[in-house]
């Protein structure tokens, strides 16, 4: 599909075809539910989900208009925007539940480590999945919110799937982890001590659906329709959590058993501006970017 522009192909049934790119992760559940329930069609869209994608490829794919929308964590999008990449965050893809103690991401330590609060992690080694994305910010924020020196954390990259092992084998002192690994880690004796997502913002947007500025300029109606459809999908998901849990095992390897127990991400309609500002600050402090980003350019009003 190197036509470079897939959003203009109107199907025979009058629907506009759009392609969404995302790794097959839990946040796709509302999308599939919306597909099943004809929500996209209602908004004049025909959605194709391209799961053959990764963090490495999604931004260039969107900019080259090989796909129309993709998911990316907010920090990554802020950084991209600041580097002059014309990305527009349209609508959240996953968000904090807003409930400290019951969020889908947490700062965990080994149960027998004697550490009970994030502040005690000062100067210790903490794992995050990627140093340049929102996880790093969440880990630091948890410590800062507890009155600790977030700069003193020694962050090291360990993919989420390895976190339970890394914690229980004592390879790291603490780790930022999200579901389903949060549950797995807890099952193996880890205890959550900090809730960086809610510390960052009550309504934190963790990752967002974004598109290219070019698409926004050329086909604003498609973008708006997409946003509306997603919001409707979220509304449906909020009301049908069991359907979401049932959906997850169909496109991931997560077993129904696990899917029934994990904390589901929150669904929010607006990309959190306040959180974005905070994240931009972290990104600047961590040297990911050197200038202040123009968030108005990033977040589609």
């Amino acid at each position: 599909n190197d036509s470079g522009d897939s959003a203009d192909a109107a199907g025979s049934d009058g629907l506009t075809k759009i392609t969404l790119a995302s790794s097959p992760l839990g946040h796709l559940a509302p999308i599939y539910l919306a597909q099943d329930n004809g929500i996209f069609a209602k908004h004049g869209l025909q959605v194709e989900v391209d799961t053959e994608t990764s963090d490495l490829t999604s931004v260039p794919s969107v900019l080259a208009r090989k796909v129309d929308f993709a998911t990316g964590d907010l920090t990554t999008l802020i950084v991209a925007r600041t580097q002059g990449l014309d990305v527009k965050a349209v609508v959240p893809a996953s968000a904090s539940t807003g409930k400290a103690g019951a969020d889908y991401g947490a700062l965990v330590v080994a149960g027998d480590s004697g550490i009970t609060s994030p502040k005690q992690l000062e100067g210790k080694t903490v794992a995050v999945n990627i140093l340049t994305n929102i996880a790093a910010a969440a880990a630091r924020e948890a410590v800062r919110a507890d009155g600790g020196d977030s700069e003193s954390l020694k962050l090291v990259e360990i993919p989420f799937p390895q976190v339970p092992a890394a914690i229980s084998e004592g390879r790291v002192d603490g780790a930022w982890v999200v579901e389903p690994f949060l549950s797995a880690a807890k099952a193996q004796g880890a205890v959550p001590i900090g809730w960086g997502f809610t510390d960052l913002a009550e309504d934190l947007t963790v990752s967002a659906w974004y598109t290219s500025g070019a698409l926004v300029a050329q086909k604003p109606e498609v973008v708006t329709a997409f946003r509306a459809a997603i919001r409707e999908a979220f509304a449906y998901a909020r009301d049908h959590e069991d359907e979401v849990r049932a959906k997850i095992p169909t496109f991931t390897q997560i077993t129904p058993d696990v899917a029934g127990k994990i904390t589901i991400t929150g669904w929010r309609d607006e990309v959190s501006r306040q959180a974005a500002e905070k994240l931009a600050g972290y990104a600047q402090r961590d040297g990911l970017i050197s200038t202040t980003p123009d968030l108005d350019e990033l977040i589609l009003p």
């Binding site: 053959e52 490495l56 260039p60 799937p161 092992a165 390897q253």
Partner: protein, 273 residues
Amino acid sequence: MTTSSRTPAPTRGLAGGGPAGRRLLGAVGLLLSAAGYEAVTRAFFSPLHVPPLSAILPQALRLLAEPRFWTATGRTLLVAAIGLLIAVLAGVVVGFAIGSVPWLLRTASSTLDFLRPVPSIVLIPVLVLVLDVTQITVLLVAVSCFWIVLFQVLYGLRDVDQVAVDTARTIRLGRWGRIVHVTWPTVLPYLGTALRLVVSVALALAITGGLVMGAAGLGELIWSSQESGESTGMYALVLLTGAVGIALDLAARLAERRLLHWHVATRRELATP
């Protein structure tokens, strides 16, 4: 000389290293490693982190019954095969071209040395502008294997015996004839080594493509098992991947033995006391 042609070869025992014997030994080696793995994992690791073989095997057997495993394997093998084919063809052609023209080698070698260590993985975001992930995976496979084939050919070409070349020159074999009759057979053993290397590299990279870019196939299956916290499932996939690797290696060895039956190494192995 009493040449009684077509005397049936004597049946070789285990010690003689007949094909059955050597395969049996290989199986013994596998069993020993399996037992070692089982013991080590049981002794030192939590089954949640590094599951023992006894936990992996049933899962692997279950996978074998699942069509999606076979589709994924098929895809991965196809990608690996296409990349491999490109690499071997390009590597051999470029290798022989550069290797048999001295000034070309001298001109190109610095550029080759420069390009060799460029990791394709870093350039994926750039490549994705023009290729889709499957194509990138093919490219990843092809490029990595190309280098291996190329260097192996270049080194093989250095092994060509001067007397053989002189012989070819006096009977006025052309450049092409010299390649076919003299250099190619000399390089072949080096290519045999390359083939075994490259078969596994191709498979490994086809999987890496799935792991880092989500290209459909075994790699993507492994990735999603990992992402879903299904470590036993992941290890089962890794086990099966390794099995595919063993099968490919076996095929490569067979091919090598047929092609190189005249080579010292092969003939020494086939010699009967």
